[in-house]
């Protein structure tokens, strides 16, 4: 067994000691947190970075000659460099936003709505999160753009033949999840980028579920935009990243107007600061940016290959446990490594919310609902699913606890 596939190489007990919330009890039971695809828990080094910032260096950025202002600016700009390195991308394309949702909205508003023309086509997929659907719908409506969708096959993967048909003129932009938050499917982004570029379309990657869980290289994906959220990768809430090719940022008009994004403001007209600052209006969340940089350090110290391998191992175990429980419908690819550690399923005729409530009584936190993927729910012909999603701090024993709790669901509902 190589280091990559040997989960023993990740010392999960040591990792868990860094996450105070994991000591939490739900009633009598220890918390089993299987909802990291919604938001991850935060390790102490990240919380410490936030606290240190407020204790020593809190100030507004980019405008000060005083010591605190200089320190805050350095923390913020160093965070930008750190994130660029983390995703292997040129630094002047790193725009700080609140979350992946805002990042995608920025591209939809400043690129699609402003730079595309009526009749141009945007291609999405049936498995996208609402955050990668609604912004394009809004832009399409305003700018007369056409939307088209790559379908999802029964095995939970994309219909690549349809993709090949769609990724030609008048398609000008493809926006796609790197990893599905419902099915766990890891999409062949690099291949799709090649197909799109061949016909002159740009590609926006919704990396909300990939950057936290596996090594991601913008240079090797060769994508044009990539958005993700800090809060799903051990960083504080309130900070996210849109990476964009600097040349595209140059051409795009501003998104939000305000302090810091200007060069000169006159009463009737303004000119813009250099990129990426042109896209950062108002006071940013310096504390969370500093926390995000430390989260990158933390994930790299544990090792992203190791995290990915650990999650694959957990996923494999989870698929076995679900099989053993029996009577479940499991969605998405049936095997790793075609999928990551977000697994959706349903228990006979029991509604996912009822499953969620019973699991919660057992201390097991999963998500139940449409997971912001209503079109995919319709494709799967379900109203909702239960989703267990894993991260570096989860253990095989926790997966067993989920299995036991599912037996309890079956007992209560007599299925």
């Amino acid at each position: 067994m190589t280091a990559i596939t040997d989960p023993a190489t990740l010392d999960v007990d040591r990792v868990r000691a860094d996450f105070p919330v994991l000591a939490r009890r739900i009633g009598e039971r220890p918390l089993v947190y299987l909802d990291s695809a919604a938001t991850s828990q935060k390790p102490l080094p990240v919380l410490d970075a936030v606290e240190r910032y407020y204790w020593y260096s809190n100030a507004n950025v980019h405008r000060g000659v005083h010591t605190l202002g200089t320190e805050a600016t350095e923390l913020f700009e160093n965070a930008r460099r750190r994130i660029a390195a983390f995703i292997d991308a040129p630094e002047d394309g790193v725009v700080f936003v609140r979350n992946a949702t805002e990042g995608i909205n920025l591209v939809a508003a400043s690129y699609a709505r402003e730079l595309l023309s009526p009749g141009d086509r945007i291609v999405l997929t049936e498995m996208e999160h609402h955050s990668n659907l609604v912004p394009w719908q809004l832009a399409a409506e305003h700018a007369g753009l056409e939307l088209a969708y790559i379908g999802v096959r029964d095995d939970g993967t994309l219909d690549l033949e349809r993709a090949a048909e769609l990724l030609r003129p008048p398609t000008r932009l493809l926006s796609i999840a790197h990893q599905s938050n419902v099915l766990g499917t890891i999409n062949p982004v690099r291949q799709l980028v090649e197909m799109a570029h061949e016909h002159g379309a740009v590609v926006c990657v919704d990396a909300a579920q990939s950057v936290p869980h596996m090594p991601v290289s913008v240079r090797s994906l060769d994508c044009d935009f990539l958005a993700f959220s800090g809060h799903k990768m051990c960083a504080p809430m309130g900070i996210g990243v849109l990476w964009a090719r600097p040349e595209l940022l140059e051409r795009m008009p501003p998104f939000l107007g305000g302090g810091s994004m200007i060069l000169r403001v006159d009463l009737d007209h303004s000119t813009w600061n250099s990129v990426p600052h042109k896209f950062e209006a108002g006071t940013p969340d310096v504390a969370s940016a500093a926390g995000l940089a430390v989260a990158c350090d933390y994930l790299d110290a544990v090792g992203r290959d190791r995290i990915h391998a650990h999650e694959l191992s957990l996923t494999r175990h989870l698929l076995d446990v679900l099989d053993e429980v029996g009577g479940l419908s499991v969605y998405g690819p049936g095997s790793v490594p075609e999928r990551g550690g977000a697994v959706s399923f349903n228990v006979a005729d029991v509604h996912p919310h009822d499953v969620g409530t019973i699991l919660d009584r057992e201390g097991v936190a999963v998500r139940a609902g449409h997971h912001c993927c209503q079109p995919l729910m319709r494709r799967l012909d379900v109203d909702a699913t239960v989703r267990a999603s894993m991260y570096l701090y989860n253990t095989h024993a926790e997966i067993d606890a989920l299995g036991a709790a599912l037996h309890e669901v079956k007992r209560v509902f007599r299925v």
Partner: protein, 151 residues
Amino acid sequence: MAVGFSSVDDELFREIILDHYRNPRHKGGLDPADVTLEANNPLCGDEILLSLRLRQGAVEGIAFSGRGCSISQASASMMCDSVAGKPTDEASATVQRFRDMMLAEGGVDGLGDLEALQGVKRYPVRVKCALLPWNALLQGLADGSAGENRP
């Protein structure tokens, strides 16, 4: 908050709730219907479509369709059972009593089967599920009485 429950009858998912969930009464359409109301919970996706026929001051017909968890579906089914054929003012009183039971402290009796839903009170996020159909009925009785002079 973990909640103890007997192994015979779960304090939340009572037998009678599971029964109404699996064998809903009054499920389907109503022809003719005077009033049709939609209630939904956008955050969990529960949907209830309630149809009412009010005649001569009474709930002559009631039916529901929709999708959702056992609590919202059983609540809808039991609600229809409890008000079908009743005078509208009695139905309104039932709505009021049920809402009081779910939202106020302490128990209420005299609601028959509906009392099975009291267990939901210990699960505050699920109270919305139980109330969903009742909010539709409340609205329907208000709208319907306004339109009572229909043929």
